[in-house]
């Protein structure tokens, strides 16, 4: 059969990046997590103003630090380091899961996915462009929260050495870590990067699940279930043989940045693991998305 000479018009990867970027920014729900995180930071600051931290004083006294009031150890860095845990365990993963779910399954549900796929765009490139923006989004949420915490913390409580109780960060050792004031910003930067890398792995998992189901709600539920099951397993010390295989173990490695002596080797190993998980999840997402039928 003769070939009709169709033009060379098609959507390039840059067109797709622009397309996804505009959609992500134009959607109001994309901005809600920033508002929520902002409110959480304000709430944390208010709580830090009102709490007396007597239990912490007692713990620090046991560690022979001789603090007499909360002003001796509470500062912007202390606030930021201690408020990172809940957000990076719960809030930010939930926001990223929702964004990932909306990007593919949400669009499939709304019918806009097929509106894109009836055009000359590569399915693989479409998914990768979505991942790029989801990665940027994860990075933006992580650093927005962290920077806001540090700035508001410093504005309200000043700066100083960072004192952390080791057991809070699950390294299995009791005691207090003291990080000199000048070293703290670098530690936060490293923690932020490692936490963001963890969030990007979660983003790739969210995208994988989202590429497989046709309902955004199903995508959130499955992704969060996987994440919370891993967190639950991670909470049982008896299952420590399982830890190296759980991606949450490596996602939480940022906590080591707040130890006296940061185990750089462990951090590298975790980063390699996270990169592996990311590549596996993303490759699986692209492969399965290319192969699946779009019924929505």
């Amino acid at each position: 059969m003769s070939t009709t000479s169709f033009g060379e018009r098609r959507g390039t990867f840059w067109d797709l990046l622009r397309f996804e970027g505009v959609k992500l920014c134009a959607r109001r729900i994309s901005w809600v997590p920033f508002v929520v995180l902002g409110m959480v930071v304000v709430l944390v600051v208010i709580v830090f103003h009102h709490l007396q931290f007597n239990h912490m004083l007692a713990l620090f006294k046991n560690a022979q630090l001789g603090f007499t009031s909360k002003a001796d150890f509470i500062n912007g860095y202390y606030l930021a380091a201690h408020a990172m845990n809940p957000a990076f365990h719960m809030l930010i993963p939930i926001f990223i899961t929702v964004a990932g779910g909306l990007m593919v399954a949400g669009e499939a549900e709304a019918g806009t996915l097929r509106a894109c796929l009836v055009r000359p765009v590569s399915r693989g490139q479409l998914l990768l462009s979505k991942f790029c923006w989801l990665g940027v989004y994860a990075l933006a949420l992580s650093f927005f929260y962290l920077i806001l915490l540090i700035l508001l913390g410093i504005a309200n409580f000043g700066v100083g050495n960072l004192y952390t109780l080791n057991f809070i960060f699950h390294n299995g050792q009791q005691g207090v870590s003291t990080i000199p004031e000048l070293e703290v910003p670098v530690r936060f930067f490293c923690a932020g990067l490692i936490a963001s890398a963890g969030m990007m792995v979660l983003a790739s998992l969210a995208l994988l699940v989202s590429a497989l189901v046709e309902s955004a709600a199903m995508a959130y539920i499955i992704t969060l279930s996987v994440y919370f099951v891993e967190l639950t397993l991670y909470a049982f010390p008896a299952l420590d043989w399982l830890y190296p295989y759980l991606f949450v173990t490596h996602m939480n490695r940022w906590q080591q940045c707040f130890y006296d002596h940061m185990k750089v080797g462990d951090i590298y190993v975790s980063l390699v693991h996270l990169a592996g998980y990311l590549v596996v999840f993303l490759s699986a997402a692209v492969f399965l998305f290319k192969e699946r039928d779009i019924h929505s």
Partner: protein
């Protein structure tokens, strides 16, 4: 008239949906060995009852669903192997046009056309004017009515410069005014711009009005395909009203070899197929046979009748052939 050569060719297309052990033991065969040829320049009506496999076929034609067997090619490019080349000059919507509701209509067009290489703001303005949305282009799609979304859907299909339009029930849900406008637009796109249009529809009158070719499918199988004129010649009946019906039946049988049937409750009316003969020949034969003619006119809604006959016959023949053990 359509030019020669197929623009869209569907060959032995089959789609079996595997249900898996969770959803029951039987697979579902949505489309079975379907072959269609859409010539360049044609307006091709794709008809079938609900669940006949129309949307599945359209989805396979657009690469949204992978066929179990068979091949679809657009402009000579195999959709399975060369999807990007095949879709470069295709404008399409399946089921219903969908948009990003939080964005204005114009922005939706800019973004979607960007995926096909982009369109200038002048081109977008021109298309918006053509579909009658220029006054509402900057409103968010969420405030659009159903009819406005359908028009925006057509506008999105027209950017940038398609050669083939694939439309799934383009007038579905529109008011009579909207239906008229969309039909006129499709007619003008085919006649003035030379586009090939492949549309599925339930509205047989619409297909009769617009299309040069039709295909009817049922239970995933092709029942009839061809040029509308030729099918009309073959299947359209004529109604003869005369005061001497019995005599007329005799004349038609003897002189022309045609079988005429009387219409129930209307003894003076006969229905007959012309068998390719021109109506003038029938009238002349009746006049020569001394049969008075009150009226001799083509059957209205012949396509509706044909559709109902063919699809119901097919159902009687095959029952429910969709499930595959």
């Amino acid at each position: 008239m359509p030019e020669a050569g197929p623009l869209l060719q569907i060959e032995h297309l089959t789609k079996i949906f595997r249900r898996g052990w969770l959803r029951g033991p039987k697979d579902l065969c949505a489309v079975q060995d379907l072959s269609l040829t859409v010539p360049k320049g044609a307006v091709y009506g794709f008809l079938g009852p609900n669940g006949a496999g129309k949307s599945t076929t359209l989805r396979m034609a657009l690469g949204l669903i992978h066929p179990t067997q068979g091949r679809v090619s657009i402009g000579g490019h195999d959709v399975a192997c060369e999807r990007l080349q095949a879709l470069r000059r295709v404008g399409a919507f399946v089921e219903s046009p969908s948009f990003y509701k939080y964005l204005p209509g114009r922005r939706n067009l800019e973004l979607l056309s960007g995926l096909s290489g982009g369109a200038s703001s002048e081109e977008i303005d021109g298309i918006l004017e053509r579909v009658g949305l220029q006054g509402r282009a900057d409103d968010r799609v969420k405030v659009y009515s159903h009819g406005m979304r359908a028009r925006l859907g057509l506008a999105a299909c027209l950017l940038p410069c398609p050669e083939l339009l694939i439309l799934d029930e383009p007038t579905d849900g529109l008011d009579p005014h909207g239906i008229h406008e969309v039909r006129n637009l499709i007619r003008s796109l085919a006649a003035d711009d030379g586009l090939t249009v492949f549309l599925s529809s339930h509205m047989l009158g619409e297909v009769e009005n617009l299309c040069t070719h039709i295909a009817i499918i049922d239970h995933g199988r092709l029942i009839v395909e061809g040029e509308l004129e030729s099918l009309e010649r073959q299947h359209r009946r004529w109604c003869l009203e005369t005061t001497r019906a019995t005599e007329a039946m005799g004349v038609l049988a003897e002189r022309l070899g045609l079988d005429a049937a009387s219409v129930p409750k209307r003894p003076n009316v006969l229905q007959l197929s012309l068998g390719g003969k021109p109506p003038e020949e029938i009238v002349a034969a009746l006049s020569e046979g001394g049969v008075p003619i009150r009226s001799f006119s083509p059957e209205a809604n012949w396509l509706d009748r044909l559709f109902l006959e063919l699809t119901s016959t097919h159902e009687a023949d095959h029952g429910q052939p969709k499930e595959v053990a």
